[in-house]
Every structure is written in C-alpha cells, then in structure tokens.
Symmetry: C2
Subunit: 194 residues, 2 copies
C-alpha cells in the first residue's frame, strides 16, 4: 500500500507528509465519534488547505474509505497468526473477541466494518474479500478439526459480524457485543461434538 506501483513516480516528500497528516487527522476525527466532521476542519487540523485535501483524495468519501481500509488491513493480519499460535476453536473464539476489542478502541473499526458490509461500493470490495478470506481461513480450520459446523461461509460470517459491530450506539454495548459473539460462537459449534 505504501510502496508505489512500479509505474508511478514516488510522492514528493512534502506531499507524502501532507497525505499522512490528512489521514491521521481524518482518523482522529472519525474515531472520536465525529463521523460528520467537515472537510474544512479535517484539512485545517492537518495543517493544510482544502485544496490540498482534494489533491490527495477524490472526495470526502474517498478519504473516509482510505482510513477504514487501513483499519481493516490491520485486523486481517490476525487470523493467520492466531491459527499458528492456537487450536482452531480457540483461534476462532479469540478472533471474534478481537473484533469486539477493536471496536471498543474507537468507533472506527465498527464503522469500518459496518460500511464495508452495508455498501456495495467497489472501493470496499477489496476489504470485504480480504475479511471474508480471513474468516474462511478460521472456519476451514475449525471444520477440519471437527469443532465447527459445516456450511457456513466466510462471507456469511462476515455479514453477521458486520452487524454486531454496527451497534456502537448506546452505553454498555460492549457487554452485549460479547454476548452476541458468544451466541454466534456457540451457534457455529452447534451439532458438533464440542
């Protein structure tokens, strides 16, 4: 992501700096709840003018998407690692909880997942596939080990999780998220010799 495609010239140093600053500022703004922060504000708090923001990002949306995409990238690294360290069942359980934790940090991740789920935007297509693959990995391992029911696909589970993460609305949602996660987890194992 950071490395430019072979054909493209690398960004000039100051340009890159600004781009980074913008992403940071946007992240800041979004994660701290202000989902509808104004473009001008973001630009200002990044120390640049709006024009500069638009030099780097097609639209306000594009900026938001980029922020979310980065969040998702991070999360998608987890499954492979978890599977190395733990048995399939435990890996799955941990990943589900990890999701909740991430969502807890800020609204960022939950909004990210929600957006990824709820829009058909091709921009999110990559992220969606990425997440689905990560989940498929976990599910397959679980099925192979006989601790997870067959017939649930990565994309399906992704949808269910996307829903769960969309619940950042009220106080005390975190506990509920855990409950629902447990519910899903048990649902996945239903009919299996647990």
């Amino acid at each position: 992501m950071e490395v430019p495609l072979s054909s493209a010239r690398p960004l000039r140093a100051d340009a890159r700096r600004n781009r980074e600053a913008l992403l940071a500022a946007a992240r800041e703004a979004f994660l701290s709840g202000d989902t509808d922060s104004h473009v001008e504000e973001i630009a200002r708090s990044a120390g640049v003018a709006v024009g500069t923001l638009y030099r780097h990002f097609e639209t306000r949306e594009a900026l938001i998407e980029e922020v979310y995409r980065k969040e998702v990238d991070e999360l998608c690294a987890a499954p492979a690692e978890l599977l190395e360290r733990h048995a399939p069942e435990e890996a799955l359980r941990r990943f589900l909880l990890l999701l909740v934790e991430h969502a807890a940090v800020g609204k960022g991740m939950s909004v990210a997942l929600e957006s990824i789920m709820a829009t058909a935007s091709p921009v999110f297509e990559t992220a969606r596939t990425q997440m689905a693959n990560a989940l498929t990995q976990l599910l397959d391992a679980g099925v192979a080990a006989g601790v997870v029911r067959d017939g649930i696909t990565g994309p399906t589970l992704l949808r269910a999780l996307g829903g769960i993460c969309g619940m950042r609305a009220t106080e005390g949602w975190q506990g509920e998220a855990r409950q629902i996660t447990a519910l899903l987890f048990d649902g996945l194992r239903y009919g299996t010799a647990s």
Copy 2:
C-alpha cells in the same frame, strides 16, 4: 399515534390528507431502494410543495424516521400473536424468519432496523424499546419452556438482528440471512436439552 393528545386540536381535513400522502410517497420512495431520494421529489409525488412537507415534518430525517417507525410498529405486533399460536421455540424461530421475509419485501424494513440500531436518536428510542420488548417476550417464553439459554436479553438479541438486517447490500443475501438466523437460533439453544 393517530389520535391527537387531548390538548391538541385535530388536524384540518386537507392537512391530514396531505400528511398521509407524504408518508405514503416517502414510504414508496424509500422502500424502492431510493434511500437518498430528494425532498422535492417526495413532495411532488405526494402532490404538495416542499413547504407543506416541512409543515408536517421537522426535517427530512424526521419524515424518514416516521416512515420507519410505522414499519416497526407492524412487525412488533407479531410476537404476541406467534406465542398464542405456537410453542415458544417455534414462535421464536418463526419470528426470526419473519424478520428476513420482511426485509425481503423491500429494503424498507432492513433499513428501518438498521437505523434504529445504529443511531442514538431519541426518535428511535421508542421503536427500539418496542422491539426489545417484543423479543424479550419471546425469549422469556423460551427460557421458561427450557428451550432457550438464559442470560440473553431482548436488547441484545435486537442488536444481533439489527446487524443481520443491515446486509441488504449484495445479491443472494437472503440465503445468507437465513443461515445467520439459523446460527443465532442454534446459539440461543446451545447448552439446552434441545
């Protein structure tokens, strides 16, 4: 809802007619996918001017919310009826599926549930409580009959369902919705002498 509070004067006949027409037009617009239909369009297709729309609804948002609220009202009538007709377990199962069916009709219901879940808007507070109560009813009956695990509250299940309904994005989501519903259903029964 329809009956004015004792203190308020009843709406003039034409006013009520217009209000109704606006709600109908809005419903039409939203249910047929056009979530971002313009205020002017809605007004025009209801045969009134924008000003009239604003006489009846504080903001565009308020109109949308009203439409969704009515949808939810309908759905909330179901649990009581289902419990009369079926055993708790079956009633629960049917209600979950009913949700999917409703969402299938148009995007209306799914958007409704999603919105109700995702915003902290006090306007949805009523609807949220209403739905939660409906679910609590089902869960309690299930727990009493020993077919549902204890410890899951109405609001919690509501959140999980809200998530499920938010998945109207892609083709073939309906099948997935069923899968997830089954997942949840089984999760609810986990650890029970099914």
